[in-house]
């Protein structure tokens, strides 16, 4: 019987958990498949309709930029609400002034629109209508100072580079894990990351939200987070494998997950709360960004237990099935 610390009650969840995680792997697989396939189908539908798997924001598509001079000092918040009320999602609203002016009533409103001549007029009409109905009914053409088409901030070049950079970084992580653990660990971790990215992007497709540059940053964050989580579990597995030669791999993996469960729930829970707070209180413009993080953290935690760990065991079983020696328990004498 454990001596309690001088009668003090320490707050502790998960003191002795003993869940058979690997036993549930088929449920996990089903869950993952359902969401992956749903995401893929949704992305396919989007691709057919708009030419890209997910709705893309102004950063990727470019759009129309309209400069409006208001009759009095503009209230950015109310302008944004006016845009929303008129159904114009994702307008970027920036006050603008000349360097020699102390103040100005000018505002730049950028809409993701198609970039052609007709769209300029359409864009101008749309903005004027929205402002007239929901902001200030005296707005008319004289308030529109300039209408221009802007190219995308992320040209094809940047897109390609960002994509390549991410792939290379995954490769880098795989190599490091290969060196510290074994190849299958690296592969399993990277597969888990891909799984997380797929489901998160699928979530955007399913909920019809736009992907902007900041969402890309959020996706990079969730990859990092998922890796972190997966490595913690792997580390425990490696340690336990070294200590015990008689248990089966499944048992070791299960025990490792249970031992790290307390830490996993805590860290994920805390990070999740921060990100949730950002989603709820962070304002409308950050919604895409915080949505990616909210989904990403949940899925990242899930994938370490449900995707990465079972992959190790599955690989072991497959090799055993082919008559090859069990590779994992006789793991390299990894440095402590």
């Amino acid at each position: 019987m454990l001596r309690s610390q001088e009668g003090r009650e320490s707050v502790e969840l998960f003191r002795s958990v003993n869940v058979d995680w690997l036993g549930k792997k088929w449920y996990f697989l089903l869950f993952s498949m359902v969401f992956s396939v749903a995401g893929i189908i949704s992305m396919g539908l989007h691709w057919q309709k708009i030419g890209s798997p997910v709705p893309l924001g102004v950063d990727f598509r470019g759009g129309t930029q309209i400069q409006v001079q208001f009759n009095s000092a503009p209230d950015i918040n109310r302008i944004r609400q006016a845009m929303d009320a008129a159904g114009i999602k994702d307008a970027s609203i920036q006050p603008i002034r000349n360097l020699d002016q102390a103040t100005s009533n000018d505002v730049l409103i950028s809409l993701p629109e198609q970039t052609n001549e007709a769209a300029l007029d359409a864009g101008r009409e749309q903005i004027m209508d929205a402002l007239r109905s929901h902001y200030d009914s005296s707005i008319d053409t004289k308030n529109i100072r300039n209408v221009q088409v802007v190219g995308p901030t992320v040209g094809k070049q940047l897109e390609k580079q960002a994509g390549l950079a991410t792939l290379y970084s995954m490769l880098g992580m795989l190599i490091y894990l290969w060196f510290r653990f074994q190849l299958i660990y690296g592969v399993a971790a990277v597969v888990a990351c891909f799984h997380d990215t797929l489901i998160t992007v699928g979530a955007f497709a399913l909920t019809n939200q736009e992907i902007s540059l900041t969402v890309i940053a959020a996706i990079l964050t969730l990859v990092g987070y998922s890796m972190n989580d997966t490595i913690v579990v792997f580390d425990r597995i490696r340690e336990n494998l070294r200590l015990s030669r008689r248990e089966t791999l499944s048992d070791v993996v299960n025990r490792s997950i249970n031992q790290t469960l307390s830490r996993t729930v805590l860290t994920s829970g805390l990070t999740f709360i921060t990100v949730l707070s950002l989603y709820v209180f962070g304002g409308q413009v950050l919604k895409g960004f915080s949505f990616a993080l909210v989904v990403g953290i949940l899925i990242g935690t899930y994938s370490s237990i449900a995707v990465a760990a079972p992959m190790l065991v599955a690989w072991q079983d497959w090799r055993a099935g082919k008559g090859k020696a069990a590779v994992l328990p006789a793991a390299k004498r990894a440095k402590a």
Binding site: A165, T166, E239, L270, V275, Q284
Partner: protein, 541 residues
């Protein structure tokens, strides 16, 4: 053991002070507004968070067309000579003038033998009809015009190239994260948005300077003024020559003018590299090397013109005139009255590629935060609430050790922001995503250590042994997770651009800070706590 602890605590406090300096610099006062002032000076916020300068540039695409036809003139002359077809001149009847007028797409070949018309026709057709329309005149002359579609494609390409070059120049460290995009429909305009406008003039200079380096054969000079110069060529400038002013050495008050051949021997993209160096007399100069093909051309020219003069023309002005003493192949120096700064800027401009054409400034304003100042405020509030919640939770769940975790988290943020202040990197929303990941991993590190210590305590170990073992086990995991993520961040920094880079920068700084606080600082605080424990008392965790 107590002595050891004091020096370690001193080290931690020193680190804290250094990075607080990184954030604030030396503030003018301790009031709230003075501190806020010094922070905003040190830590640059990106366009999405604070807004900045809004510049609209026009690319003078006709210059690119002019360059292309200049080189076509040279090639046509070469081709005709090789085929032994005589001509009196190949030139541009209406070249591009400084005010932007002219028809740079027109080339004329004159004075050919009418007997050879067909031969010349077929030669020109064979080599140039893809890009040019060849029309024969009655008097043995030909007019060669660049096809409109080709001209348009060239103009588009020029704008794209200008965008890439500007990006390279403005963002050489990759940390200032400007916005550069095409603007307007078909007007060849570029929008550049830069966070903050402190040294806008210097940035404008870097962006705009064409820094076209060319080497022209000198026909005559130096002359005192334009009349004398024109007088030397019989009053009117031939079509293949031009006047250029000498931007003289300091101290020389007379402006001088040279008559140069219009078509340069080597120019622009012929330069493979350019670096700052020191000349024989100790002054800063620029050393350049040419590409192989250009090197061959240069060698041919210099060996055929020993004793003649050639002019190094920079941004349209003659920088240096040298006599060709012997054949030069592919490397040289440009000396002049340069300052070290000028030489560095010049080398960079030459390296990042000459702009394909000049840029004119159309507009020059400031814009507010693209995310919206309201969103920034909301986001900051939400983030602060989140972090406070974490801190409170750690205190409740881990009791005494929770203070440890909270201190580590606080120190983490100070070090991270200090790094940003020292490095001058720009903080954007993707950068903040990196900060969020860092906070997550920081919390994780602490939780790993604490959970391990709890396990050891549960297994019955004495306090100091439990802390020892807890750290020892957790250390392996912390190293693995952090190194993996740092590897990933380094690769993202090397290969990514814009927001990806910003993310990588804050992530790397944050993880480095994390390794320090989670292991070193935490350990020291635990040791201090252990030192104060009475025998039989247990760790507060």
């Amino acid at each position: 053991m107590k002595k050891n602890l004091n020096s370690r605590i001193a080290l931690i406090i020193a680190v804290l002070v250094i990075f607080i300096y990184g954030i604030f610099g030396i503030p003018s006062g301790l009031s709230g507004s003075a501190l806020l002032d010094s922070i905003t000076k040190r830590i640059h916020l990106g366009l999405d968070l604070r807004g900045g300068a809004h510049l609209i540039l026009q690319v003078v695409v006709k210059e690119a067309v002019s360059d292309e036809t200049d080189s076509a003139v040279g090639r046509i002359q070469q081709d005709l000579k090789t085929a032994s077809l005589t001509y009196s001149q190949v030139y541009k009847p209406n070249p591009l003038k400084p005010d932007g007028s002219g028809q740079p797409e027109l080339i004329r070949v004159e004075g050919t033998a009418s007997a050879k018309s067909n031969d010349i026709r077929s030669l020109l057709d064979a080599k140039y009809s893809n890009e040019y329309d060849v029309n024969g005149g009655s008097d043995g002359s030909f007019t060669i015009t660049m096809k409109p579609l080709v001209e348009q494609a060239l103009e588009k390409k020029t704008v794209q190239q200008a965008i890439e070059t500007i990006r390279d120049r403005v963002d050489s460290l990759g940390v200032s994260e400007p916005v550069i995009q095409e603007y307007g429909l078909g007007d060849n305009q570029i929008l550049v948005e830069l966070p903050g406008i402190e040294d806008l003039d210097r940035v404008k200079n870097i962006i705009q300077s064409t820094a076209r380096l060319e080497i022209h054969p000198v026909v005559g000079g130096p002359y005192q003024d334009e009349q004398t110069a024109l007088g030397s060529v019989g009053g009117a400038l031939p079509a293949d020559e031009e006047l250029s002013h000498f931007s003289g050495m300091t101290g020389s008050d007379a402006d001088s003018i040279y008559v140069l051949q219009r078509v340069p021997v080597v120019a622009g993209s012929d330069f493979r590299s350019a670096d700052p160096g020191t000349s024989a007399n100790g002054l800063p100069d620029v050393r350049f090397t040419l590409t192989n093909e250009a090197g061959d051309r240069f060698y041919e020219y210099t060996s055929a013109n020993v004793g003649h003069a050639m002019a190094v023309v920079l941004g349209g002005r003659v920088r240096e005139v040298a006599n060709i003493k012997s054949a030069i192949r592919d490397s040289g120096e440009i000396e002049g009255s340069f300052s070290a700064d000028e030489v560095a800027t010049l080398s960079k401009m030459l390296r990042t590629g000459a702009l394909p054409a000049s840029l004119n400034y159309l507009e020059d304003r400031t814009v507010g935060a693209s995310l919206g100042a309201d969103s920034v405020k909301e986001g900051v509030t939400a983030a602060v609430v989140g972090v406070l919640l974490i801190m409170v939770f750690m205190l409740v769940y881990y009791r005494g050790s929770g203070i440890n975790a909270d201190l580590a988290l606080f120190l983490n943020l100070v070090i991270l922001l200090g790094f940003m202040g020292f490095s001058g990197a720009t903080l954007t929303l993707p950068g903040i995503a990196g900060v969020i990941l860092t906070i997550g991993m920081g919390v994780d590190s602490n939780v790993l250590i604490f959970e391990r210590i709890r396990e050891e305590v549960r297994a019955g170990k004495a306090p100091s042994a439990a802390v020892d073992q807890g750290f020892a086990h957790a250390w392996v995991t912390i190293i693995d997770t952090h190194v993996t993520t740092i590897v990933s961040a380094a690769i993202l920094f090397l290969f990514g651009t814009g927001p990806v880079k910003g993310f990588a920068v804050t992530l790397t700084f944050g993880l480095a800070a994390n390794l320090f606080t989670a292991v070193y600082v935490s350990r020291v605080i635990f040791e201090a706590h252990l030192n104060k424990l009475k025998p039989g008392e247990l760790v507060s965790i």
